[in-house]
């Protein structure tokens, strides 16, 4: 079985400040890890993914995520938040060689205030 936990329902940050959205996962074997973003009344959009190799992954819109195997975490980060970053963020995991069962976390709402 595989699972994803996003411990914060909402994260509030001031514009210009760094942001972190937390994600921890549970999977047997090596994981593929993903971050998706959802804007109001829209489908999910891909931000970035970790496959293997460098633990720091860079993605769209200045976002990055750090894979930490010992802590089974994949936190999403951005050095300087924008108001337009306000959205719902989802972390997801898929086990290597496990077909297509992509498991999502419950989502974290990011609110960036001017």
């Amino acid at each position: 079985a595989q699972s994803v936990a996003q411990p914060e329902d909402q994260v509030n940050v001031a514009e210009g400040n760094p942001l972190t959205v937390k994600c921890t996962y549970s999977v047997s074997g090596n994981p593929y890890l993903f971050w998706y973003v959802q804007y109001p009344n829209r489908g999910l959009q891909f931000l970035l993914k970790y496959i293997t190799g460098d633990n720091l992954v860079k993605g769209s819109y200045g976002f990055e995520a750090e894979f930490n195997k010992s802590q089974t975490s994949f936190h999403l980060k951005k050095p300087s938040a924008l108001v337009s970053d306000s959205a719902l963020y989802f972390c997801a995991v898929r086990r290597h060689n496990a077909g297509n069962m992509l498991t999502f976390g419950g989502g974290t709402r990011l609110m960036v205030k001017p």
């Binding site: 994803v4 996003q6 593929y32 993903f34 998706y36 009344n41 829209r42 489908g43 999910l44 959009q45 891909f46 993914k49 496959i51 989802f90 898929r94 290597h96 060689n97 496990a98 077909g99 297509n100 069962m101 992509l102 498991t103 999502f104 976390g105 419950g106 989502g107």
Partner: protein, 113 residues
Amino acid sequence: DAGITQSPRYKITETGRQVTLMCHQTWSHSYMFWYRQDLGHGLRLIYYSAAADITDKGEVPDGYVVSRSKTENFPLTLESATRSQTSVYFCASGRGSGANVLTFGAGSRLTVL
């Protein structure tokens, strides 16, 4: 237009009625998926399909039926809708398993009265 489209975007129905949500993609992706999004549960996989005429259950398949006679279409049918099926439904497609990225439709908001 290229992309993945869902219809209808909004639907209100009554308990016991049959409802079909449509999903169409233009990329010829082999894999297609149906998720439901509920507050507190994130996204949960209902059914997926690896190719035409191949479908498999996901995490929450009860009460739903799917078919895939053509690669580009993946309709989801609620044969007898229940209030617990009130949700936002997302269709997604992708080239395959592993690290391949999914592309999502805009969603279909279904309300069952």
